[in-house]
């Protein structure tokens, strides 16, 4: 390379001179020219961060402000009043709270075994080459919009329930009182089932994350003691991961409580409290979706906003609880990773 030393020297000199001129420029211009843009950038970034905080504060403020009328008028009684009568301006949220709780719990009851099962299958049993495909399919389930689930539930699930499942349940389990009364297809049961399908991917993906976080040597230790695979999963994996799984379940509950469109389309929208799961019901989110844009009268609107406020607070508590549980397993907030 350096056959002609003079040329090589010239090249080196040139490089040095370029470098030194760059350094010179940095040295002379950098401090003054970068201080201001850096400060501006910092402020801009800070503004976006503050605005996220501000949005949440603002949401709470608007909800409290707009529901003030109803809060004054009904007080705590709003939450256990049974009458929802816009004509006489009487509002009680009990039927909606009941509907939300029952449909969400029903959804959890169906979704939890399924999602834990699918997560266990994916982490402990599934052949490697199937794993990516199946987890992609489960993720895809989360990508389907709520309104499409609702559409499918109206035209496929509800007729199926009406013609086959509900008559069967009425015959075999009618004595429990949970499966009696006229069969419409739409109702609490349909809402619970469609919601279960919707929250499975949430619970399954978090459970999977938590199961993956269980150290491999826990599994090996249990297997070394002569356990079968199921005993290994039960003692070595599920027992270690149970707090995180509960966190995932609560996160799913949070999603179910706030779910609006699919439920509104199949729950029947009748503010009644009925023991039977065949009966139509109403949830907090659906009453807002259905009546908010038609609400005439300040008190009516205010009562609907108060339901929204209650929904917000419940999901807030549920989500905060879930985050804490999941973080305690998977190792804290992302921001804590770097010291």
């Amino acid at each position: 390379m350096t056959a002609i030393p003079a040329l090589a020297n010239a090249a080196t000199e040139r490089r040095v001179s370029v470098a030194s001129s760059v350094l010179q420029r940095i040295r002379t211009t950098q401090p003054r020219s970068s201080r201001l843009p850096d400060a501006v950038f910092r402020v801009l970034i800070l503004v976006t961060a503050v605005s996220v905080f501000a949005i949440v504060v603002f949401v709470v403020w608007e909800l409290v402000d707009k529901s003030r009328l109803s809060l004054h008028q009904f007080g705590v009684g709003f939450f256990y009043g049974h009458d929802w009568d816009p004509v006489n301006d009487q509002y009680g949220a009990m039927p909606f709270i009941y509907g939300t709780l029952v449909s969400s719990l029903l959804a959890l009851l169906l979704a939890v075994p399924l999602s834990v099962g699918v997560a266990v299958y994916l982490t402990e049993m599934c052949p490697i080459r199937w794993r990516a495909i199946i987890s992609f399919l489960v993720e895809l389930l989360a990508a389907i919009p709520s309104v499409v689930y609702g559409l499918w539930a109206i035209f496929v699930l509800a007729p199926l329930l009406r013609d086959y499942v509900e008559p069967f349940l009425a015959r075999t389990l009618g004595w429990t009182g949970l499966f009696t009364g006229p069969i419409y297809g739409i109702g609490m049961l349909a809402a619970g089932i469609i919601m279960a399908i919707m929250i499975v991917p949430i619970i399954a993906s978090i459970t999977r994350e938590v199961l993956t976080a269980v150290p491999q040597n826990q599994r090996e230790a249990v297997l070394a003691l002569g356990a079968t695979r199921w005993e290994m999963i039960r003692m070595g994996v599920l027992r270690n991961a149970r707090i995180g799984i509960v966190g995932g379940i609560i996160l799913g509950l949070g999603r179910a409580l706030g779910e609006t469109m699919a439920v509104t389309m199949v729950i029947g929208n009748r503010p009644e409290i009925s023991k039977s799961l065949f009966a139509p019901g109403y949830t907090m989110a659906s009453v807002i979706a259905n009546e908010f844009s038609e609400a005439t009268g300040d008190l009516y609107l205010s009562a609907l906003v108060e339901i929204g406020l209650a929904l917000f607070l419940v999901t807030l508590i549920v989500n905060a609880l879930a985050r804490l549980l999941v973080w305690s397993i998977t190792g804290g907030a992302a921001g804590r990773v770097r010291a």
Partner: protein, 292 residues
């Protein structure tokens, strides 16, 4: 792989334990099957009912009055595009900014607070965001608009984008930042051109996921964008959106509208799945990694 019971070495495993092991296997496999089945069934129905109802009129015309045959959802598709463009224009920069703050500056108390509020915002039911935006914008303006719908969706996008950006920026090695700073590049330039650029694949994934999530949202649009039967290009007026139109048509008593609801759902889902799949391919094949 764990050794299967039934080997010579595990002859002494009792019948009960072997039975439980088999039962657990069967349960896990059937759970996986049961989870996949609704997905497959929904897709089959969508394609079957949707493709049969897709035609040129559906893609180019506005809805006909109730009860009349024909018409389409062209205005709703364009409306959705307008609303989503507005949402992305507001939500993605704010989300990325917030993510940069969390990763590069927010290692203090306030950072933790913002992180927590972002997670809270992520869990707020979409219908509640609809109410809040309604009282902020619609009530003050006294009319529904695409603009307010865009803001509602933007609010829903921010936490997803912010947390994805934060996570990805934290994965950028510190030496890269130090190298850039050592060359005398100012901090803002280092963050934007070096850190963010290195993390771009993940950040783009986060943005696409947020987009896919809000693309099908209906609840917050009910009292913000509101819907419209006619062409509307003014973002300050009530605007039709695909999910709203599907909702209205599904609950209508007309067979022709049910048919169109399926076609609309098919278009919506194809859009979303294409976005998610594109993200998958981009991240696994590393097509976007060249950006660094």
């Amino acid at each position: 792989m764990p050794k299967q019971p039934g080997d010579a070495s595990t002859q002494q495993v009792s019948l009960w334990r072997r039975f439980m092991n088999q039962a657990a296997n069967v349960f896990a496999v059937s759970a996986a099957v049961l989870v996949i089945v609704p997905l497959v069934v929904i897709f089959i129905y969508l394609v079957w009912k949707g493709v049969g109802s897709l035609n040129w009129a559906f893609l180019t015309q506005t809805p006909k009055p109730p009860g009349e045959l024909g018409g389409g959802m062209a205005n709703a598709m364009v409306g959705s595009a307008v609303i989503l463009a507005l949402a992305s224009a507001v939500g993605i920069p704010m989300g990325i900014g917030c993510g940069i703050y969390l990763a590069e500056y927010g290692r203090d108390r306030f950072g933790d607070l913002v992180r927590f509020t972002a997670d809270v915002l992520n869990g707020v039911p979409s219908i509640v965001i609809g109410i809040a935006v309604y009282s902020l914008i619609v009530l003050r303006q006294k009319h529904f608009s695409a603009f307010s719908g865009g803001i509602a969706l933007a609010i829903m996008m921010i936490p997803t984008v912010a947390r994805a950006t934060e996570e990805m920026l934290l994965m950028v090695p510190n030496n890269v930042r130090e190298a850039a700073l050592g060359l005398g590049i100012p901090k803002w330039r280092t963050t934007l051109s070096i850190s963010l650029r290195t993390a771009s694949a993940g950040v783009i994934t986060g943005c696409m996921l947020a987009f896919a999530r809000v693309a099908g949202e209906t609840a917050p649009l009910l009292f913000t964008a509101f819907g419209n039967q006619y062409w509307n290009m003014n973002p300050n007026q009530p605007t039709a959106a695909l999910p709203l139109q599907i909702y209205t048509y599904a609950l209508s008593p007309y067979d022709d509208w049910h048919r169109q609801a399926w076609a609309g759902a098919l278009i919506l889902i194809v859009m979303i799945v294409a976005a998610v799949a594109a993200v998958r391919i981009a991240t696994t094949r590393g097509a976007l990694k060249g950006a660094s």
